[in-house]
């Protein structure tokens, strides 16, 4: 029973919505929209579990005085402040000052950290290519040359070196690059369709976790 019910649910819903895909009628359309809305409402509750884990993790850390435990207060405070201000400032409560504070914190505290984390990528592009773009094998050499030409094609210096370089770079992007992407995508398409089928048919059970075996 513990595993039969979930497997039945997956089978029925899986087949129903595969069939729905081919039916354009109004009833079908309404079913689809309703399912999406219900799914959204249902999934929202999983957030409780997630935040439970986060809070639990940090409370334990503080209680047990684990390494760097003091920083856990920072996480808990951030969670509480943003969560509370966001809900109080949102449409359901509608406190204007809370909304203003929430926006201010988002713009000047969270967003800068977000962008800075993103910007770190620029440094890592350099260090990764330095370390990995080495002609260790034929394949690695091909990768290196393609990357090199495309980089040269972007900067004005490349076009000055030889005016055809931007065209070659575009050719690499459009022909071999596009072809390999299509090949990968076709494989991924078949692989993910197979997995969807396996889930619907109850062959793929990793998601049942403990009760799947």
């Amino acid at each position: 029973m513990k595993r039969q019910l979930p497997l039945m649910i997956v089978l029925v819903l899986g087949i129903a919505f595969t069939v729905q895909f081919f039916i354009p009628s109004r009833a079908s359309e309404v079913t689809y929209q309703t399912a999406l809305q219900w799914w959204l409402v249902m999934s929202s509750f999983a957030m409780v579990l997630a935040l439970g884990s986060l809070v639990n993790h940090h409370v334990l850390k503080i209680k047990r005085r684990k390494e760097h435990w003091a920083f856990s207060w920072v996480t808990l405070a951030g969670l509480l402040v943003m969560g509370a201000l966001g809900i109080m400032g949102g449409p359901s409560v509608g406190l204007r000052w809370a909304n203003a504070a929430y926006n201010q914190l988002f713009l000047f505290v969270q967003a800068p950290m977000d962008s800075a984390m993103f910007a770190i990528l620029a440094f890592y592009m350099a260090s990764a290519s330095y370390r990995a773009f080495r002609a260790r094998s034929k394949e690695a050499t091909v990768l290196l040359i393609a990357g090199f030409v495309v980089m040269l094609g972007i900067i004005p210096f490349g076009a000055m070196l030889w005016r055809r370089i931007p065209d070659i770079s575009e050719w690499i992007m459009m022909v071999p690059n596009m072809a390999s992407k299509r090949g990968i995508l076709l494989g991924i398409g078949l692989g993910s369709t197979a997995t969807a089928l396996k889930i619907i048919l109850g062959i793929e059970r990793s998601w049942l976790g403990g009760s799947g075996k």
């Binding site: 595993r3 997956v10 089978l11 819903l13 129903a16 919505f17 895909f21 689809y32 809305q37 219900w38 409402v41 249902m42 509750f45 999983a46 579990l49 439970g52 920072v74 996480t75 951030g78 969670l79 509480l80 943003m82 969560g83 509370a84 966001g86 949102g90 449409p91 359901s92 201010q104 000047f108 505290v109 969270q110 950290m113 770190i120 990528l121 620029a122 440094f123 091909v142 990768l143 040359i145 393609a146 972007i154 770079s169 459009m174 022909v175 071999p176 690059n177 072809a179 299509r182 090949g183 076709l186 494989g187 398409g189 078949l190 369709t193 969807a196 089928l197 889930i199 998601w207 976790g209």
Partner: protein
């Protein structure tokens, strides 16, 4: 020279704290990291509440409960009332905290998976397989575009076929398959190198944005 705005200072100091990670992990980074994790989780909570639960459940459900029944028919005929079902199903997630009922969490997960794989199955066949096939055949047979584009279209088709052959798992890569899979690897490697090279400018631009913020808004050295 420096900004007089406390918020700009906070943003600048946190930006530098994140960047300090490049030197090594340190208490400033650690502070920013713990703050970022906590704040963004709180932000996520508020977003789920404000953008998912309130407009899709709380508001319509409340409206159904408080609506004047005479005009809109009985409560049970109101689709907004039935939003209570997904909400109850959602509560099953929380059964996880009750050991004897913890297996019930599989019900909402199963619903999500059933919907996801059902909605996905034929759609993936359409977008990932049929669409890609059409583009590949289209490029390789575009006689109207003439000469070189047609040649490149055919080269692309060879690339697609050989890349596909690399992903054969149930056969040892020997003979013709080995030959074709090897060509496939070459296409893959050119593609990876090119994508990497093509991404550098975008990533550097993000860094430029941050440096501009530090040098313009925080220290007024550039205008």
């Amino acid at each position: 020279m420096f900004s007089h705005d406390i918020w700009v200072w906070i943003a600048a100091v946190l930006t530098l704290a994140i960047f300090s990670f490049l030197y090594k992990e340190n208490p400033f980074y650690r502070f920013a990291e713990y703050l970022f994790v906590g704040m963004s989780a709180g932000y996520g909570l508020a977003r789920v509440w404000n953008n998912a639960l309130v407009p899709n459940f709380i508001n319509p459900f409340w409206a159904a409960l408080t609506a004047e029944r005479g005009a809109t028919g009985p409560l049970l005929a109101d689709p907004r009332f039935w939003l209570i079902v997904p909400a109850l199903l959602g509560l099953l997630y929380i059964c996880r905290f009750i050991p004897s009922l913890s297996h019930l969490i599989l019900v909402p997960i199963a619903i999500g998976l059933g919907l996801g794989s059902g909605m996905g199955l034929a759609a993936i066949i359409q977008t990932d397989i049929i669409k890609q096939m059409q583009s590949a055949i289209g490029d390789a047979s575009n006689v109207a575009a003439g000469g070189w584009p047609l040649v490149w279209g055919i080269v692309s088709l060879v690339g697609v076929l050989t890349t596909l052959s690399y992903f054969f798992f149930s056969r040892e890569h020997k003979g013709a398959l080995k030959y074709s899979a090897n060509i496939g690897i070459w296409f893959l490697m050119v593609g990876f190198g090119a994508s990497f090279g093509n991404t550098v400018m975008g990533r550097v631009s993000l860094l430029i944005g941050r440096v501009q913020f530090l040098l313009t808004d925080w220290i007024h050295v550039i205008r």
